[in-house]
């Protein structure tokens, strides 16, 4: 099979990025993965309450587009771990841009991102492993 299908809308990088992660849930899943979550259960338990069918669908799509990979981390009982690829981790910069825009322009919103943004807002961070956002700037 070919590695990529024809462009759906245009060759514009923005349009194609939006076709992959331009919906209300995908980037929240990426956020949670960046924060150190890695199982379906942890992801389903997000603050925003993503419906499980949507989560399953987004995980499939994100895997299909090479943003994350699914792999069993134990065999008996089989349990899966979702982790970001480099492509997925690079979305951290997009998240960061969104977070900066949101905190600046939507009153009341806070940074809920582990690894810290530029404005010094504290995050109620729990035991994160050693995963950090590849922050620009």
């Amino acid at each position: 099979m070919s590695t990529h299908k024809a462009f759906l809308r245009s060759p514009c990088a923005l349009a194609n990025s939006l076709d992959l992660v331009g919906d209300r849930w995908s980037l929240l899943v990426v956020r949670d993965l960046l924060q150190g979550k890695h199982t379906y259960g942890e992801l389903a338990d997000s603050r925003e309450g993503i419906p499980t069918n949507i989560l399953a669908d987004r995980l499939k799509r994100l895997e299909a587009s090479g943003i994350l990979v699914k792999a069993p981390y134990q065999e008996r009982p089989v349990r899966y771990s979702y982790t970001l690829t480099p492509k997925g981790k690079d979305l951290g910069n997009v998240l960061l841009a969104f977070v900066r825009w949101g905190t600046q322009h939507i009153p009341g919103t806070v940074v809920m991102k582990a690894g810290q943004a530029s404005d010094g807002t504290k995050t109620p961070e729990k035991t994160s492993r050693h995963r950090r956002v590849g922050a620009a700037r």
Copy 2:
């Protein structure tokens, strides 16, 4: 009445940003406005072929959330001009992050963004005018 409604999903800046512009079209409209387009017709004539009902809806939503303003720029015949507010212009950074991610990770995509980049990225791209894209099936 309160000045703003309760958070739809969570106080997370990312989640709230996505509630405003987290769909497949909003940021493309912002892109076109940043590129200098300002009338409904010019926006409707985008490369990706946004349906006019969707465009009308997005313009209303973006105006409601203070990302752009609509104003008549001539009276007889009345013609409207859509322009970004500072809030809307700041989305340029989000666009930039998306464009960088896309060009880096989605093979074949190109930058189609005019001027106004904070890192000196330039586009020799020019805009096509009223060319129809009958590509949608």
